[in-house]
Symmetry: C5
Subunit: 321 residues, 5 copies
């Protein structure tokens, strides 16, 4: 589905184009054509391939989707695949955006995601002096938008981790905590698979040999790269903490078990003593003088009570009860 | 066993050749000879070595099989070994294909596998403009086919993992889950040993110094490389998740044990109290007035029943029962 | 908030400047302007950007803070972000300092931290022969101060670890130890995120291609780099030891549980024997001769006592009690 | 102890030499002197050092043995140390071979090992066209022999691991399995220390800058390198599997304990119920009508039996018994 | 404290110098001044700085000590810091030696260690042809001595590990074993921190760009480097084995607990049966014919005895007792 198709000259919007006129504008070196599509059909992709003369392998990648984030050069044209990651109701969803960056055009194709880039186009049109930098700047602006949307996801994951951490040492929470940590790790890995390849990719957009379209905007890509490094550091921190937290959960279970065992042992001991006493006076020997005493019974009960009480006190003091 | 032996010129099929005529065609630079063998005998290999003038070490590798995936240059000729990985009835089987890529010939030798490449030859013959690119393109087409067949294997492994994950927190499944995770890890490692060396290998087929036969098809090999990186990322994800899942299984066992222990303790406590009561009234003291009461017995039973009931209620409420 | 704004010539203090005169002094190549700000407002930052002609992206980073430590070159000017790490009441707090290093100016902006650099300025003014080395030396002096303040933090973390280690094998401390180790790991990671990126950064300030401002002070930056390597080695050591210590804690819990179990088993055994004995003489058979003996009862009690005593002795000797 | 000392010209055996004549033959560039020693004395080494003008540090290494596998260049001469690894009665033994490779000589010194190289010399003498390649080829042939002998060791270790894996989930085997896995890891590490440094070493014998003696035989060394990579991959696989297997063993122990606990709890429950019943009818209340019934006793026994039977059935069904 | 201060020419000892004359000898290019100090005062260091014109940062490092092992070039002069590691009564102590290597001087400063280098000087003076190689050779000789002293420490650590391994599967040793393994790991890490940075350092003293003073002695430094690689491999092996051993200890504890639980369960079962029997015959039913039998009591005892005996036999056979 076509969203926009606009031509710019010197950073100023010329016109909204019908798709068929794209190639007419591309012959003018000072024009920039910026097309945005979403959830494209095969026919649309074929049109685009023709209008922009795109390489077959790249079009295949854009068509099939489910690409790993990557940047590939096909002659003058860059093909970039990025993941659009969103947090909806504590669940992660992943869409994709494929971007073709030519000498004087930008084609972005967004699939399976509601995150749109209208704001990017607006901001670019408001700053013609930057838009004048050409396709490289638009490419940066789109990438920056994609990466900026990773931050709230990381923060959400971090706060989910903190929520688990607060209950980490609570009794009886181990099963729930472990299940949540396991689930959280799965989510973190989804984000990681969006971030790490993109980080490697942006590292090639400044400093050394840089694709021609990005030469004038190296400092901007360094900034994006820096953001990705920061996000990645947070991700690694979360991942590592999850591993440690699972370990801690395991320990918590054992410690709790220890405590249950001690209480079990203590009560078993108290009742075993009582049972032994009543067993003794339940024996049928003929000559057991205390059985004849008038106060034998209350004395016996008191003795049993006192002994058990004393044991209870001892266990209490030593922390077993 | 010979499968095909065909000569092409400019991407067009010339003729099916008898094996002995191969060297006659090889002298023509514009001819491409494409030979496919399977489960070869020593004699066949010797013939091939002679017809194509192949290096002794490479022939030895093709003969003995069980090679690690690799690419070696012997002068103009490339020798490539790849694993053919199949999933049959949830079990992984590994065959091998050895490919010799010369300036104007391709020799593929498939061993211990039913995966065939007839489809590749067909598609190539249907697209003469690509087949015209020469042995490098055929090499790509074969490699692409091999790698494409890894995808369903990865997906099968991933879905086996998901099946385990669904039962991960079920009670009493720990032993079965761990056994399955262990088995799954073994399978994943088999695939990994097919993928990782091949990934390193294809990384050398584009970008920097590239073997002459592959110069015109670099973008295709980059595509294969990209597929392998994606497969490898999935593999690593599965491997890591398995490790975490085993850890989680361990925790589950401990947690379950905790629950058993608590129930054991609770019931032991209830019965210990009952036993203590009946023991008291089983004592043989002469002066135990309640023994004489008409309603002593039912009162005693009621008292015991109430006490145990109260304990049961308390344990129930605190989650021990 | 402005702290200082001073111009130097040949290492000698010329004058305290009002902010607006900065650009007047900057035109003199032999002048060095050194400005220090803290907790800046947007307006102050805008003034600074104008006076020193700073790059927009760098100013954005300084404004938003929460940067990963990094060094970026914008033309002639270096932008450096560092973390200021402090230990207050056993809790770690992190502030930031952003430094702009130009050919003949230094601008430092400190945020969310009480650690000040007045001592640095004082020492520099006392050693004009070093201050004469220019902005690179001031940059070194500030960085050295930041890094020197990491040492007491590392030492505090190490001593917290030692405090835990001393109680590592104490009984009943497992839960507290694990909670403390977990907390300690969190703190260590905070410091690590301050140190590692800065270490990578300083590694670029000597040896190979070095930013012009730092060429004359390479040996000093090597020294700072060396300090960071040392700090990092300590951090890694602490981190690794924490992991091992958690493992040890887990073992301790199991061992303690073993001991509890053994004691439980031993006492259960002793009382089970006593209960069996008293049960036997509580049976109602008519012909149980020992029941008629005058000394049957004391004999029985003695027999029970002796048996239990013997069991107690055996359990004691085998270490179960 | 001298084993052989032979001079070759153009791949053809000239004569067995007495040790003193070695230097006479070395002056002829077209001669190759190949000396094999074993368990040398200091005197023999001194003679060799003199005859071949070997470097003192290398001779020291050969004398003391217990070297890490390595390759060192001393001017024209290569010094190589390799481990000879053997499996005798499921136990690993490690010997050493030191090889000096000169422009036209080979000196091999074997220590603490019964693995000999007579077969290598025989094969080389049978193929004069290869032996003609000079000392580099002999060096390859010796190294190939050493590396080929690692394969059966790896296979033995793999089959030991498989033997353990088959019993991994058997009950009551945990202690034995863990002990064997620990022992197996020790053995694997011995082999690893033989293989990894040698692998790094052979990687330098083809491709880039190669010692002069090995220039003509690069493809052979690439083959050896490839073997070592394969061995190393197997080793890493075994090592990783051992770690996972120990983890699995730990889980198995916990699971088994769970089962024991459940059975314990079930039986304790059944007997606790029986004990409570008989305790009730052992009370001394005067008015317990059922005690007077003629069939009270068999009824009571039946009731107890039925209740316990029902409990048994319930526990059986829920898998606790 | 000054130990020695000697001037050499062409490897021959000229004279013991008073410290003040050092600079007089240094002007002669063919002289070598070799000074050894220990536990220096600030004044001594200041003198040395003056006599040898040493860089302030290096002097600071030597003064403060507690450096990470490192090598720094200050113009022509090398500054090297190494750890002196000793094993005294199974405890590791760490001292330091700082060495300044100039074109024609060597200054070694030893702190907090009793390991001295008198033997090095002696050996050097006995071999003037090597001492003639200049300051580089003395530097090598000192470094070689330092590294040689790591070997007995590694061996001691390895034998401590072996001592623990022998008791690894002994019952009741888990707590002691884990404590010792933890302690051993601490010691190993101390050695590691001495070895790894030094290993990296020596790797720069041969092969590529080498400091001028060490150019003629590259093969010697390669030898030292090789020793350090060997030591490091041993250290890594010990470290890895410790980790596995702790894992094994954990398993041992669980297995032991399993055994205790089984014995507990078995004895509990036996006594529960006995208690149930005696309880039955302790009931007060009027019509219990067996109570009237003459041999009722011995029969009952026999029945109980036989049943318990049979249970004992069954538990024994199934390994629970």
């Amino acid at each position: 589905m076509l969203i926009n198709c606009v031509a710019y000259r010197q950073g100023i919007k010329l016109a909204e184009l019908p798709v068929e006129q794209i190639s007419d504008y591309l012959v003018h070196d000072d024009c920039l054509v910026w097309v945005a599509l979403r959830d494209t059909t095969d026919a649309e992709l074929d049109t685009m391939q023709e209008e922009f003369s795109l390489h077959g392998l790249a079009i295949e990648d854009a068509r099939h989707g489910h690409q790993r984030p990557k940047l590939e050069e096909y002659g003058d044209t860059l093909f970039v695949a990025m993941h659009l990651v969103e947090m909806r109701d504590a669940e992660i969803t992943v869409g994709e955006v494929s971007i073709f960056v030519g000498r004087n055009f930008i084609l972005s194709i967004r699939n399976r995601s509601n995150l749109h880039f209208l704001g990017v186009r607006e901001r670019c049109e408001r700053e013609p002096e930057l838009l004048r930098l050409g396709s490289g700047f638009v490419f940066y602006a789109l990438m920056d938008e994609v990466v900026d949307r990773y931050f709230p996801v990381v923060e959400e994951l971090e706060s989910q981790l903190e929520a688990i951490e607060e209950r980490l040492f609570n009794k009886g929470m181990a099963r729930a905590n472990i299940a949540k940590l396991y689930e959280l790790k799965r989510k973190v890995n989804i984000l990681k698979h969006a971030v790490v390849p993109l980080m490697e990719t942006t590292g090639k957009l400044y400093g050394g040999r840089v694709p021609p379209a990005c030469v004038n905007t190296q400092e901007y890509f360094r900034d994006v790269h820096d953001h990705l490094i920061r996000i990645n550091a947070s991700i690694e921190n979360v991942r590592e903490t999850i591993t440690t937290a699972i370990l801690v959960c395991q320990s918590t279970v054992s410690i709790e078990q220890n405590e249950v065992n001690k209480r079990l042992a203590a009560w078993a001991g108290i009742f075993a003593v009582a049972t032994a006493f009543v067993g003794i006076w339940g024996m049928n020997f003929e000559y057991m003088p205390e059985l004849k005493w008038s106060f034998g019974y209350p004395l016996a009960l008191s003795l049993i009570g006192l002994t058990c009480g004393y044991l209870y006190y001892r266990f209490k003091r030593s922390g077993w009860l």
